[in-house]
Symmetry: C2
Subunit: 211 residues, 2 copies
DNA sequence: CCTACCGATCGGTAGG
DNA sequence: CCTACCGATCGGTAGG
């Protein structure tokens, strides 16, 4: 790992733990065994570091969504989008936290650049949900509100999900996707088995669980 | 409105717009037509202001949840909790934003005090969901994860909901509650009408909507 | 990559 | 409630 990458990695951790404004350049320098001023041999400004972290996270989210085949049936597509989203958070919780929590401190130009990518990301969900509403597999009153609901449920996870905790990322994503589909009024489990059985209502597989 | 309240109101707006650390005491003083040092005739420290805002918001959320009758059926109770939560956000979006976004900058003692109230608030949801799982009206795999899902969907709303926007708070809350119940695997519309019809699956009332 | 420094700004206080 | 000030710290730079 070269010095610049080392700085970015440390910054992602510090910014996520203490916040962008609370972390001083001296704090960051100490974390990579440099003197304060020496950082500027590798980076132009504090805000450049923030942008690189946020931009990197945005790319990860976009790449994850772009990898979901757009011709999948809507329910499966939404499930895959949910899983991709949570995979990014599980893998890069620090950078994801900075992405969600500190991006507003970017300069107007850079903020606008990130906003574009956020819009593009959101569009993947908007499309999948609209498709599902059109074909009748989703039953929601307002697709726009439903999209915001789904993104809200996803975006907050960085606040509490611990990839090293008791529930492994895969299991976490699977259950989360099931609840998202429930919120969208989808009929039942989608991945294995035939098309949903009529007259039986929805059922989350292994319903019950703890209690 | 006395001076102290005036300061708190202005601080709620400024902290929510620019962030706690970006807002200086001089910014705040200017907003209430005072000189910087004069603020300290009314408050002890910047952090005291932050605490008062966050504490006030916590009280509002707790009071809203406490007002939901605990003997209601679980589905209706969850719906009422969702509506209460969103009502607070619709009424005090600024303070709610500070509550969610800046509370971590409190001193350890004050942070712990708020954490207690957050836990108590979360417990209302945990109980309602556990009750619903027990009685079989909710079908989720892991009640703990389901609770976190619901709170995530709610907690993020301060980021995008505009009470003055196109969708009025009541309508917003009603649709949001329907999606939450869907995520919990509840069977259908709950408020009006008889118990859910068997053999018809779930349906959000007026399913379809825009598209 | 370090040393030494810059001007600016911070939260908070004394004294009236 | 104002004026004037405090020490501390900030991001960033020059010169080597």
């Amino acid at each position: 790992m070269d010095r610049r990458t080392e700085i970015m990695t440390a910054a992602g951790r510090l910014f996520s733990e203490a916040g962008y404004h609370v972390t001083s350049m001296r704090d960051l320098a100490r974390a990579v065994n440099l003197q304060g001023g020496s950082l500027y041999a590798h980076i132009a400004s504090k805000e450049e570091i923030l942008f690189e972290i946020v931009s990197h996270a945005a790319d990860l989210f976009l790449a994850g969504a772009a990898a979901v085949p757009p011709d999948l049936p809507p329910a499966e597509r939404v499930a895959r989008l949910v899983e991709a989203h949570l995979a990014v958070i599980a893998r890069e919780i620090g950078n994801a936290t900075v992405f969600f929590h500190e991006w507003r401190f970017l300069s107007p130009e850079r903020k606008a650049q990130i906003q574009e990518r956020r819009d593009a990301y959101e569009a993947y969900f908007t499309r999948a949900i609209a498709d599902g509403v059109e074909t009748g597999v989703f039953r929601v009153e307002d697709p726009r509100l439903a999209t915001l609901f789904v993104l809200s449920a996803l975006n907050w996870t960085y606040q509490w999900y611990d990839p090293a905790g008791p529930i492994p990322p895969d299991e976490f994503a699977r259950q989360y996707a099931a609840m998202v589909l429930g919120a969208l009024g989808a009929d039942g489990p989608l991945t294995p088995g035939p098309s949903p059985r009529v007259g039986e209502g929805r059922s989350t597989e292994h319903a019950g669980g703890a209690a």
